[in-house]
């Protein structure tokens, strides 16, 4: 479903992403791990067509993102880091706007998609509130709602549980897990336990390179008895 080959992004002399390759198929939840600045977000931005890769390619459902970015964007739901949204709009207005741009132009189709997304992310108590008045947890859920609004075959979520309390984290994880059956999901996170809880595969990026690509079980088996963060630290030491 999502195929990434030798993706490179350079900023001046710095190589933010240095030859990242992997592929994800339907039903997979891929956990993207790595220290801050390792290139997780940059890789995601290139897959979604927001940044143009310096070299390499990313395809979604066989469509190259540099060749036909709009077609790829139609297939993807994307939650950018820190869930940006138009602060002066209400939740309903904002999701309505996303629905219209996503092609649900008739009144009924638009309302149906918005209601569905609001229901899945439990946003109904705040649907008429402007986004700037929402707490971090609600804002994050608006971002998730926006990403799943058109029921896309593939989801890219940049730190979906960032800033949520433990209950909200569990809720979002449950939502992601429930959608995984018929979707391809790539998510980035700092929380190692999250990977164990919901991901079927884990990729660790360090200094722009993939250093680990395996199942969470195999990852844990690297150092039996050690805590996950100890294994993580030993693999990404170069970033410090």
């Amino acid at each position: 479903m999502i195929e990434v080959k030798g993706l490179v992004k350079t900023y001046g002399a710095k190589r933010a992403v240095d030859g990242v390759s992997f592929s994800v198929k339907r039903g997979d939840i891929l956990g993207f791990l790595g220290p801050n600045g390792a290139g997780k977000s940059t890789t995601m931005k290139m897959i979604t067509g927001f940044l143009r890769p310096t070299a390499g390619s990313a395809t979604v459902d066989g469509i190259d993102v540099t060749a036909d970015p709009v077609a790829v964007k139609r297939k993807l739901g994307y939650l950018p880091e820190s869930a940006p949204a138009y602060p002066e709009m209400t939740v309903e207005e904002f999701l309505g706007f996303i629905a219209e741009v996503r092609g649900f132009t008739s009144k009924e189709a638009k309302a149906a998609q918005v209601d569905r997304a609001i229901g899945l992310t439990h946003l109904s108590p705040v649907r008429r509130q402007t986004i700037e008045t929402l707490s971090k947890g609600f804002k994050q859920r608006v971002g998730v709602a926006q990403a799943i609004l058109h029921d896309p075959p593939a989801l890219i979520l940049d730190e979906p549980t960032d800033g949520l309390d433990p209950n909200q984290k569990n809720e979002i994880r449950a939502l992601i897990k429930s959608m995984a059956v018929e979707k391809t999901i790539v998510l980035s996170t700092h929380i190692l336990e999250e990977v164990e809880a919901i991901c079927t595969r884990v990729i660790i990026i360090s200094q722009g390179k993939v250093v680990v690509d395996e199942t969470p079980a195999a990852f844990r088996a690297r150092q039996p008895g050690a805590r996950l963060d100890e294994i993580f630290r030993s693999l990404t030491r170069g970033d410090i």
Partner: protein
């Protein structure tokens, strides 16, 4: 191209979701009308049932006010990170640029049309030439679009709204002053006439003047439209860079 619709709608009503729209509309109308009634405008002293003394200030007024409308177009999106959201939706850069620009232009047009009490005043005081009134409004709307094109472009260059405003103001002032009478006089004194003419040809004033006299000259219309086209093209280039 059908994606322009929702983008236009969001941007246009976005002006009214914040107090920006109301502050702008009130400021624009108060300043423009008081200038017309001031001793520099001489609305009554002219003794003519026309709007020339009202619209003569528009090129100057637009220099300050259009950057205020245009500065947020892209800077705001870049600062708040929503630009990432916008460009991961299935829209092309051109659609996004056009949607936003047209919304800003529609807002400016609304501001210009809200000066209708001035037209009603001259209709009450005398019998104005409606043809001239119409061409003047048309000229003002076209000129507003050309200013906004420049401001949209400068707004796309930075995520800081203050820098965006200053850049827009500078760029608009530059295009405006090339046609200012004392500047053209200076050019005429020091350079051959065709140089002065060529430079003055790039000014908003030169091209707006004919409209206020009731003339729709195709070359003026083409000037404003091509300035819009050119700045919006550069806008797309800047955003895709």
């Amino acid at each position: 191209m059908k994606q322009i619709g929702p983008l236009f709608k969001r941007e246009f009503f976005g002006y009214f979701r914040a107090p920006v729209a109301y502050v702008f509309l009130v400021a624009f109308l108060v300043i423009s009308v008081s200038l017309a009634f001031s001793r520099y405008g001489g609305f009554f002293r002219a003794g003519v049932a026309g709007l020339e003394s009202y619209f003569v200030f528009f090129p100057w007024l637009f220099m300050f006010l259009v950057p205020a409308v245009g500065m947020r177009l892209w800077s705001e999106e870049k600062r708040s990170g929503t630009v990432e959201l916008l460009f991961t939706l299935p829209v092309t850069t051109l659609e996004a640029v056009l949607g936003k620009f047209l919304a800003g232009w529609a807002f400016l047009t609304l501001a210009i049309l809200l000066s209708f009490p001035m037209a009603a005043t001259i209709a009450y005081l005398g019998s104005p030439d409606w043809g001239v009134v119409f061409t003047t409004y048309l000229g003002a709307i076209l000129m507003g679009g050309a200013y906004l094109g420049v401001c949209s472009l400068t707004s796309a260059m930075t995520k800081n709204q203050v820098i965006s405003f200053v850049l827009s103001l500078g760029a608009c002032a530059l295009i405006l002053f090339t046609g200012f009478s004392s500047f053209t006089a200076l050019l005429e004194a020091n350079f051959p006439l065709f140089v002065a003419d060529a430079v003055a040809n790039f000014s908003f004033i030169t091209h707006f003047d004919a409209f206020t006299k009731g003339i729709i000259d195709p070359k003026d219309v083409v000037f404003f439209l091509s300035l819009m086209g050119f700045t919006l093209f550069l806008n797309v280039v800047v955003l895709e860079r």
